[in-house]
Amino acid sequence: MRKHTLNKILVSSIALSALVFAVACGNDGKGSSGSESLPPPTGSSAAQSSDAVESAASSDSATNEELTPITIGVLAPISGPLPNIGEAMQRGYTIAAKLLSGPSTGFDISLKIADTQYDPTVAVQQFRQLASDGSVAVIQGLPSSSSCKAVSEVATALKQVYIGDCIDASLLDNPSPYFVMGAAGAPSLAHGAAARVHDRFPDVLEWDTYALDYVTGRGVVSNFESGIGEWNGVLGKSVWAPLDATDVRPFLTSLQQATPVGSNKGLMVYAFGDLGSSFLKQASTVELPDRYKVIVWVNADDLALKGVGAALPEIEAVTDVMTEAYLPMDDGLLAKFIEEYQSEYGMYPPDQATKSLKELQVGISAAKKANSTKSSDIQKVLVGLHPETLKGDTVIDEKHYLEQSVVGGTCKGDASDPKGRNFICENVSVITF
């Protein structure tokens, strides 16, 4: 009897649960992901993924016999801990290749996108595989600081040009002549943040910091301290959070208890991706936005800001790309890119996607100037290259930075958006320092 009753309870429970999930799915299940959802990873292994994704970008222009075929390799974290960035890169590069293919550049661009899984070992394997392909002129993309170091060494050995979007190029003691930083690294962002907050909040002189506890995080805080020191700013309390921690409440409580509500202090936060949005969510529960006059998020990205949604407190965001900042200086290509992206994916392109356009411009500009698709020829012209298509200060120095523009904006969640997935950034500007 008891067994019979338990069986009935179990069957009823399963039926009830199925009903609840069916209703919930009907409301906001698969439909809500829509065009934002990533297709399944392009392969479970490194070897599979490197040749799995090839852009169809050249299909429209392939009929034009005047165009020179060129293949660009892209390293992107399509799977692993930062797949949202990989997704934006994959989409951004694909549209950028489509737009840049044609008579204006003289190239018919094909892409080979390889999944780094945000793992240095995989990144090197993928780099080697792309380089050994024979057809790849330039390799670009985002692995990680440690991957950059490893890839840079391999680039020299293979004589393969690599235009990297690495976090911290200062890790490269002896960078390869084949390695070029595509955009500003995190330490540069810290200098930019110091410059921006001085412009906007000249009366805030005391600054606490919250940073991820690894070599780049330390470098960011050190550079920020140096930057604020130039206008007599002082560094107060520094809190270091573990690199992989998502629940950081005790770290934030120590800032909460050390700072009364309404103080005239600032807080510089260095975190990337979801670690930044985790910080903001939890910071709100301990009133950090009320306790600090200004919170600066260094290395902010809009995908992570979307994770905070309407609850995003007003912050100063400093990053290396912010699409809106480049629009006023646009020659029409970026506007077209945004239009294509919105049409294809039903959303405004994230910063990482826009960055893909900018980086591809670098590689294609170099190939155009070299009038060659050979990696060794392209390497020679990268020294001293100043592509007109790039915006902001462009510098080649001993660390091989190609671009050092940094962008800042005042951002907050859009409470009027019922889904809370938008954020509004104002006072966006390119920072020079």
């Binding site: 998502t246 208890q257 979801d274 809370g420």
Partner: protein, 295 residues
């Protein structure tokens, strides 16, 4: 002094969250001798369940808690279904197989989350009290943190009563001590296992729902807690309810206090405490050498 007091309370709040995840792991490990990595899947169910129910809208605390209970119940039922369909077939195999089997389930659910929801973080519901605080002994405390502390205590008491004061608890204790003897005495061990696995899923699903206010909901949701919960279970003693609670709170408070003086070493101290506990009291905080595995 204020900072130290504040950190004590912060440790209590974080420990309560950790307990909610760890107690599920402790029950399956203590009663079923199963290291259940599928708990990662139940965290995902709990998190995405709340996203599906409330999206990013504003909800009252009452409705939110009702939603969490509903999602936890559904997660418990799904857990029960998994136990019947897959997990129970692994019990007779060597330890490695159930471990790999539950981990595989976690990966499958993670893959499904990517397929249905995408890889990006989903904005979660705005709960009315999440960003409010109250003053106590001159210090400011988060109301939501207080709610989590309360939830931890309620669940601790409820599970303790269930295990020690009910017939099911009697069967559970008997099974944990000697499953063959319990079977010979007429206890339906399979049903006890089903109940414990489902209860574990329910509790972890509840934790997953509650944490949406604090953490980003994405396919790697709650991953940090899995390893930390495992440490808590080892320190507290496998299957020990009160030991798990004390370990969760104790370790979190230690970490919080270390943050005041040297934040970069905080997590190292967390794992160092595990090493010390394993060497000093391998049976768990509340047990003596040779005592039974009873709950």
């Amino acid at each position: 002094m204020n900072e130290v007091m504040g950190q004590l309370v912060a440790g209590l709040a974080q420990g309560s969250t950790l307990f909610l995840v760890a107690i599920g792991l402790s029950l399956t490990l203590g009663v079923m001798n199963l290291l259940n990595f599928a708990n990662g899947a139940f965290l995902i169910f709990g998190g995405y369940g709340i996203i599906m129910l409330f999206g990013n809208g504003s909800v009252s605390l009452g409705l939110f808690l009702l939603g969490v209970l509903g999602v936890a119940f559904v997660t418990g039922v799904i857990g029960g279904g998994m136990e019947i369909a897959a997990i129970r077939k692994l019990y007779s195999l060597p330890h490695l197989f159930p471990l790999l089997g539950t981990y595989a389930l976690f990966l499958v659910v993670q893959g499904l989350a990517i397929y249905f929801f995408g890889v990006s973080t989903k904005p979660s519901a705005q709960v009315s009290i999440a960003y409010e605080s109250f003053e106590f002994v001159g210090l400011s405390f988060s109301k939501y943190a207080a709610l989590l502390v309360l939830a931890g205590i309620v669940i601790l008491v409820a599970i303790w009563l269930m295990v020690n004061k009910t017939t099911l608890g009697l069967y559970v204790r008997a099974t944990a001590q000697d499953r063959e003897m319990a079977r010979l005495l007429g206890v339906d061990v399979n049903r006890v296992f089903l109940a414990m696995f489902a209860l574990s899923a329910l509790l972890v699903g509840c934790a997953g729902g509650l944490m949406t206010v604090l953490l980003n909901v994405n396919p790697s949701y709650g991953g940090q807690y899995l390893i930390e919960a495992f440490v808590v279970v080892i320190v507290g003693g496998v299957g020990s309810i009160v030991g798990t609670y004390i370990a969760a709170i104790g370790l979190s408070v230690i970490v919080s206090l270390v943050i005041v003086f040297s934040p970069e070493y905080a997590m190292a101290v967390f794992y160092l405490a595990m090493v010390v506990a394993v060497v000093w009291r391998p049976e768990g905080l509340l047990r003596t050498r040779g005592s039974s595995a009873a709950l």
